[in-house]
């Protein structure tokens, strides 16, 4: 199937030191949503500007709905951008903001407004039609901005951290709205965010962008459980990394000998473990390892319990209430164990990460 959006070998640089993007490959299936996740300055927004045609790449190809858009001006790319700031036109009321795209496309005023009314209904803001943007709350403005972008009936919807300026409860509400919109209008979405929770909640797959390169692109759960390297593990909020040696499918470290599977390359390797995948149990109940609690940090309903095991501190996210000094067992499920190269990632590992795109995810 032709992807809704495809970038191959895209490179970009601004005047100044270093390229912004290098040899970037990314595909978004029709009706799918891919999140581009990266720290600030990683070049995420630049990717969106390149797709929208607001910047020209120095190399590579961009295909929207199978069409090479190298020579297509932004207004004919059918790629609608929604920014962090809603940027509703202050001189137009809400209805005319949403009717903007059909109006400039030549639709008659009345028909354009009817269409706009339908899209306002889709985002639950039809009652705001006559209001000026300046009189709306931030969440309302972003809803209208989404409706305005959808009303242009784009081939690809580009979302540039659209919810990061909203407060957490409103953000959750907008996430639900977007999930609901996806089930109704099925737009092809490329979402840029620095928030891994947002990426996981909204997108089918998540690509990690670091220093202008995609280092891993996979399902959110795979990304979290099997990060391509230590940096990705840390970036995704992973708290446990234990250095050691891999010998015949067994990781040997201060934690002891933990089976990790025959396919793991021999030699030095860092065992990365998600704190959510570990659990505590009584020291007698045959845990994987046993240690003593050295710290507890409450995160709300749950807590991060720090357990020292043979000189290594493991963080376990749990609802169990323990206190420093308690002796506890830690269960490290076989499926939670993942080994990455120690130190800098080896080049072939990066390649593998990129190659492991979730092809044929049944979209």
């Amino acid at each position: 199937m032709t992807p809704g959006l495809e970038l191959s070998g895209v490179a970009h640089s601004y005047p100044g030191p270093g390229p912004v993007l290098q040899d970037l490959d990314l595909a978004v299936p029709v009706g799918g949503c891919v999140a581009l996740l990266g720290p600030s300055g990683s070049g995420k927004s630049t990717v969106l500007r390149l797709v929208a045609g607001l910047e020209a790449p120095v190399g590579g190809r961009i295909l929207i709905a199978g069409r090479d858009v190298a020579r297509v001006p932004p207004q004919r790319r059918r790629a609608a951008l929604v920014f962090q700031q809603p940027r509703l036109f202050p001189h137009l009321d809400v209805l005319d903001n949403v009717a903007f795209a059909p109006t400039v496309a030549g639709v008659r005023r009345r028909a354009a407004r009817e269409l706009a009314g339908r899209y306002l209904g889709l985002v639950g803001t039809e009652h705001l039609a006559g209001r000026r943007p300046g009189t709306l709350s931030g969440g309302q403005q972003q809803r209208v901005a989404l409706a305005r972008a959808l009303a242009s009936e784009p081939d690809v919807l580009l979302l540039d951290e659209p919810f990061s300026a909203l407060d957490p409860s409103l953000r959750t509400e907008m996430h639900e709205l977007l999930v609901q919109l996806r089930s109704v209008v099925e737009p092809t979405i490329l979402l840029v965010t620095h928030d891994r929770h947002e990426a996981a909640v909204l997108a089918d797959t998540v690509a990690i962008l670091r220093q202008g390169r995609i280092v891993q692109h996979d399902l959110p759960e795979v990304l979290h459980a099997r990060p391509v390297d230590l940096e990705a593990h840390r970036f995704l909020g992973g708290l446990n990394a234990v250095t050691g040696q891999v010998e015949a499918g067994v990781h040997v470290s201060s934690l002891g000998r933990l089976e990790v599977g025959a396919g793991v390359p021999e030699g030095p390797g860092t065992l990365v473990l998600r704190q959510e995948s570990l659990s505590l149990c009584a020291a007698e109940a045959s845990p994987t390892v046993t240690g003593s609690v050295v710290g507890v940090r409450t995160t709300g309903a749950r807590a991060e319990v720090r357990v020292e095991v043979g000189g290594v501190v493991l963080v376990v996210e749990t609802a169990d209430r323990l206190r420093p000094g308690d002796v506890t067992g830690v269960v490290v499920p076989r499926a939670a164990r993942h080994v990455v190269a120690s130190g800098r990632p080896a080049p072939e590992q990066v390649e593998r990460g990129v190659a492991r795109q979730p092809a044929g995810e049944g979209v």
């Binding site: 500007r49 929208a52 045609g53 607001l54 001006p73 932004p74 207004q75 004919r76 790319r77 059918r78 790629a79 609608a80 951008l81 920014f83 700031q85 940027r87 036109f89 202050p90 001189h91 903007f100 795209a101 400039v104 496309a105 000026r132 943007p133 300046g134 305005r148 972008a149 242009s152 580009l158």
Partner: protein, 268 residues
């Protein structure tokens, strides 16, 4: 609305309120005798108010050509605003996008027409204009446009410094052509600033005396020239006052109208 204003003046306190009142008196006081004279048929010392009210002054000033002079001034103001506003918008746009260093040199050059004494410059220019054979009306228009440019440029520069080009990016991504972006997004967004700039340019031309007198060489009798001529020649106070009021009222009306437009389009 009035509640807001009352709250605002309360917030400023008695000192602020007194200051505002004094400023208003300072501005309006000179106009009061003018208005009284324009409506006076007879007003002799030591009476505080005119003895006879009437429109004799107005009739006389119309006979003296106030309407035609007003039309000429309006034409001149509109022409200068029509040239200086877009030129100032382009210059302001460029200045808002350049570095501070280049900016300073350009700013100095722009300020020159304000800094130099107009009489000296225009006297020199009039010789040049006579020799080159440029029609007087055209030379007046050119020089007044140069005089209005610093104002329009500065107004537009401030507008463009705070201008968010992201609105245009959004419009482009929604399918708007460059032309649509200009007419449906850019111009509406800067409309309040454009209105203010055009108003200032109009005022520069409307209130000019020296340039029109020296370069116009008598062929362009604008309202200020007529008022000046009436004041120095007739000695009829109510005629002069009526002509003066005719020169004061249009800018005030324009100010109110442009203010209303700015409020309407600038609401965010």
């Amino acid at each position: 609305m009035s509640g807001h204003r009352a709250a605002a003046s309360r917030a400023r306190g008695p000192v602020g309120a007194t200051g505002s009142a004094l400023a208003l008196v300072w501005l309006l006081a000179p106009v009061v005798p003018l208005l009284l004279w324009a409506a006076a048929d007879r007003w002799q010392f030591p009476s505080l108010l005119p003895q006879d009210w009437g429109l004799t002054g107005w009739r006389a000033s119309i006979d003296q050509g106030v309407l035609a002079a007003g039309a000429r001034s309006t034409g001149l103001g509109v022409a200068v605003a029509a040239v200086a506003t877009p030129a100032g918008a382009l210059a302001g746009w460029a200045l808002a996008r350049t570095g501070l260093r280049e900016n300073r040199a350009v700013s100095l050059a722009l300020l020159a027409p304000i800094a130099l004494p107009p009489f000296a410059v225009v006297t020199g220019l009039s010789t040049v204009v006579l020799r080159t054979g440029i029609p007087p009306a055209v030379s007046v228009l050119l020089v007044l446009t140069a005089a209005a440019l610093p104002y329009t440029t500065y107004v537009m520069r401030s507008a463009y410094v705070g201008y968010d080009a992201g609105y245009e990016d959004a419009a482009l991504s929604l399918g708007a052509s460059r032309r649509d972006v200009l007419t449906r997004v850019h111009l509406p967004l800067v409309a309040p600033a454009l209105t203010a700039a055009a108003f200032l340019a109009f005022l520069v031309a409307w209130s000019d005396y020296v340039v029109t007198l020296l370069l116009g060489a008598g062929s362009l009798v604008s309202l200020p020239l007529l008022v000046g001529a009436l004041a120095s020649a007739s000695g009829n106070d109510s005629t002069v006052a009526a002509a003066s009021v005719a020169a004061v009222v249009p800018p005030v009306v324009l100010l109110v109208v442009s203010g209303a437009i700015a409020r309407r389009t600038g609401r965010r």
